[in-house]
Symmetry: C2
Subunit: 594 residues, 2 copies
């Protein structure tokens, strides 16, 4: 089992040096969120993750959740850890002070979510879902519903779920069959079967708040006829105490590849009492406002898994003695050299490191923009931030979860056969990471969202929020010869991406299948350019600081940036060639030919 050490130095480098997190404390309502305060919170979060959550990860996987007579029990230690989590105030970081929250900037939650995902992905799913439910109610719920549910979600005594999927519908929510009929006093009665409900039933909280997609009797078919309801496991009394059990039950616990300590449930609603959240038939748009944020959250899960996988791989590569360096023994006093001297092992470690560090930079940049979008006094700046935040979720969700899975596999590869043994904890990372590419919109769906929705929004307005700063940065570096090794490849890849963008937009108009066939490669290309941009920005900083105190830190940044440019970024050329191959190679084969 690899020990987890939160990369606090990395985090502070990004927040304080690269992104000027200090600007947050100049926003109204965030005056207390100074860099030092944020750093102190992150240090406390790191300790929680390292000491409480990480040690439960391996045993939680081995034990899994238990299901008996509709009751779900989480693995040993989870309930206690959750109490510690709640007592530390970790469920209420970003919640509104009006409902008992701490009102901290969202970026703080972002960083904590990454740490939790490194330490114990399964554990993080429980409070993670509560955060989603909080957000849905807070954005779309009536004042009565907000007053009833938000304080309990914020203080962690109740948890939340999102009930979307049904046996016949996953991606295609237009096929939802769960129905709602009017009940008494403005409530509704919900009946239907939901599956794959994360944290759908468990023993961590006294109540569970389900957010459920269902159809009203007069609903039009398809996605335009779906409404959102809040359906609690126990019906709350007017005084806030728990009333009778609602018609909600867990009928099955899924037996999964990974995240075995996270309860994934089939939930049956049998005339369960619920309340409408938002307007009738507008459930999908309520969902959409949450989806961007949920997708960023899953992206952070991928990043978190990648980080712990990297740490496990580095530790083993330093310690395991096997073979000799091709340039002669590096540890002649020992029977063999450590793995880390071998170029192919270094290639694997650097492939992880170079993607993780730039992905983290990208994630935190976007996290900060969320806060700016919410509170910046200048409406134009808010709009700019909002646009960028709207654009990036598919790239972050898909790119980071692919990274999480790839990094977990690279780490297993560094461990060799020992990586395949369950006791060593590395293969669990592969199994856990795999879910992130599937849930919250499978990665292919992210690509279609990017190409089909984001690209066209405001005739490319969202896109320009990314392209302009990148182009501006490149232009600013013109006179800086030391930056050329970073800006030239960045420039080249940006040009490819712009060309590919034009191709997708034009060809997609003529033949929608061509855009859809190119979508996954286009998304990958976009992600590559985004990471290249983050590396160029980090390199700029590092060049100026490599001689100073802590110079080794900045020199390592430069070496990693060079690895990225030389070994990973070249993929942009192939991607742009193959994505522009058009629909024909993908569509020509008749169905019978498969």
């Amino acid at each position: 089992m690899p020990a987890y050490k939160a990369p606090l130095r990395e985090m502070r480098f990004l927040l304080e040096e690269l992104l000027d997190v200090g600007q947050l404390s100049r926003l109204p309502g965030h005056e207390e969120a100074t860099p030092d305060t944020i750093a102190a919170i992150l240090a406390a979060g790191a300790e929680l993750c390292e000491r409480e959550l990480a040690p439960l990860n391996r045993p939680g996987d081995e034990e899994g959740c238990h299901f008996e007579n509709g009751v779900v029990r989480t693995p040993a230690g989870f309930a206690e850890a959750y109490r510690t989590f709640v007592a530390g105030g970790w469920t209420s970081l970003a919640a509104d002070p009006a409902y008992g929250g701490q009102g901290l900037p969202k970026i703080v939650n972002f960083v904590i979510e990454e740490m939790i995902s490194s330490a114990n992905l399964s554990f993080g799913i429980y409070p993670g879902l509560s955060g989603g439910a909080y957000q849905a109610l807070s954005l779309h719920g009536s004042d009565v519903l907000k007053a009833r549910y938000l304080p309990r979600l914020a203080d962690g005594s109740w948890s939340g779920t999102m009930c979307l999927t049904e046996p016949q519908c996953g991606t295609d929510l237009g096929l939802v069959r769960t129905r709602a009929v009017p009940g008494e006093d403005g409530s509704w009665k919900i009946t239907g079967n939901k599956i794959f409900i994360s944290a759908g039933e468990h023993d961590l909280t006294e109540n569970i708040v389900h957010l459920v997609l269902a159809r009203l009797p007069d609903a039009p078919s398809g996605t335009r006829g779906i409404s959102l309801f809040v359906v609690p496991k126990f019906l709350p009394n007017a005084d806030g105490t728990l009333g009778p059990r609602n018609g909600v039950g867990c009928s099955r616990l899924e037996h999964k590849m990974g995240i075995r300590a996270a309860a994934t449930c089939a939930i049956d609603f049998d005339e369960a009492v619920g309340w409408l959240v938002g307007r009738p038939h507008k459930g999908m748009s309520a969902m959409f406002t949450m989806m961007n944020s949920a997708r960023l959250g899953v992206g952070l899960q991928g990043l978190g898994i990648a980080e712990i996988a990297y740490q496990g791989a580095v530790a083993y590569a330093r310690e395991r003695l096997q073979g000799r360096s091709p340039s002669g023994a590096k540890a002649p006093d020992k029977l063999a050299d450590p793995l880390i001297v071998h170029p192919d092992v270094r290639r694997m470690l650097l492939t992880m490191k170079a993607q993780i560090e730039a992905s983290r930079a990208l994630a935190y940049w976007i996290g900060l923009e969320i806060d700016l979008a919410g509170r910046h006094p200048d409406p134009a700046r808010r709009q700019a931030a909002d646009d960028l935040v709207a654009l990036m979720p598919p790239i972050i969700k898909s790119g980071f979860t692919d990274l999480g899975f790839a990094a977990a596999n690279l780490a297993v590869q560094v461990w060799g056969g020992h990586g395949y043994i369950r006791d060593n904890g590395m293969e669990q990372l592969v199994r856990d990471a795999r879910i992130c590419q599937l849930y919250e919109g499978a990665n292919g769906i992210q690509a279609l969202d990017l190409v089909g929705r984001k690209l066209g929004t405001g005739t490319g307005r969202l896109l320009r929020r990314f392209f302009h700063p990148v182009a501006a940065f490149i232009a600013e570096q013109q006179g800086d010869a030391a930056m050329a090794e970073f800006t030239l490849p960045l420039h080249k890849s940006l040009a490819r991406l712009q060309q590919a963008t034009a191709w997708v937009a034009e060809t997609g108009l003529r033949r929608p299948e061509a855009a859809a066939a190119a979508a996954s490669e286009y998304l990958e290309l976009f992600g590559l350019v985004a990471l290249a941009y983050m590396w160029a920005r980090m390199a700029k900083l590092a060049l100026g600081r490599q001689q100073g105190e802590d110079g080794a830190f900045y020199q390592a940044k430069l070496a990693t940036a060079r690895f990225f440019m030389a070994k990973l970024l070249p993929r942009h050329a192939s991607l742009s060639t193959s994505l522009m191959a058009g629909a024909e190679p993908v569509m020509a084969l008749p169905e019978a030919g498969f």
Copy 2:
């Protein structure tokens, strides 16, 4: 659980139409191995795999092996299936008739190994290891040892193992500590601890024959001081009956990510009686002669997993209704279209199909060359075949096992969240496939073998055995305009590979770390060109037959070939760029910087 259907039409296309398997029956000793006979054997093998082995795969994973007091029990049904397997003569296909074998060409075994790997990878490991032990004894054992062991390995009543790995040594066999001291009457006493021993202990056979690497008392250190021994679990009496239990015991069963029905054991040797196989201190070279064949076998495992994953993905994509085609409803009478109409789903399916079919062609080509290397009357032809067979194992082992894992993951992706559920059988393929990239030389080691050993052999003689036929084929197609869409990209990629080869050879001389840093990308590039060559050859055939009977089969070949050229082969450009980036980006970061 995806049903398995052996792709017999594909197999006959390759053997009979592409590779002229009929030439085998013109070789001395293989007169009876006519195409029809081979096809009949493959049909029988298909039935065995589909009906007996595939249904045990999912329950075998769920149950796993059992360990109690040194005894290992395989999952329910395995012992019975093994009896059926033995009764059908499947353990003796390629064995020498002098020892009770059927003396069939190796290519038959190749195809059967692929089928077994599709149906039940765990099951296949038991007879697979026996095949390795048979080969080791047959090539290096004395006549006495051969007479004692080969008939029992061939008839399947005994099984074999390869005992190489120890806790402190995996890749680096020079670190082997197990020792052998002279015993009575020419035998030896072996003492040491081996780990990760596949089929090391089980209940399928009455005896287990361990082939063990150990050191003699006077052995030089490193790999030049290792000898090979045969150490049976029960000592055979002179009359062939089983004598007393030897000092060999299983001390642990590994708890693994996948192949859970295959017993992976820690085996302790405590003054166990063994006999030297081959000459003292020459154990490594005895191992090396087997290694090429074992690596091809693991490659076939990867191919087999890719095939069953593909079948499972296609079945789901045809059946699951979700969303609408971007060009309008294709199944307007239903609530949604099947997944297979979606371009991104087709991209995933074709990515599997295009690699699987060309990989199979490559594997069978090399399988046939093994038979030619063994029995062709012309020594020059034998040498040419032998060279090609020596060259390709790293490319096949590494490339095909990466494909197996990638295909299993693509299949899970097509299944979406349902792919993550154990009952559906898709995630098991991911877990099972993962071992193939690790054992029998981790894939990075394959790349180092290619670059460090194969490239230089006979100053490039092995390489030319591949480059020359590819270049000759391209030259032959000059006048064929219909072939240009296949030969042009093939030619371009071959040129890149030749350039990269020259770079690796030259740079590697100056700085060995540069070659090692480039090795994995070089291997990937090589594999890509090899598949492109197989597609061009298949396309040539298909172009001539697409109008005839079964024209749809050949048209599908052409569509798939076009997908490969347009969507997968372009990767050669990026690979060659990044592999030629040199050692610096990989070596610059000091160890402390990780």
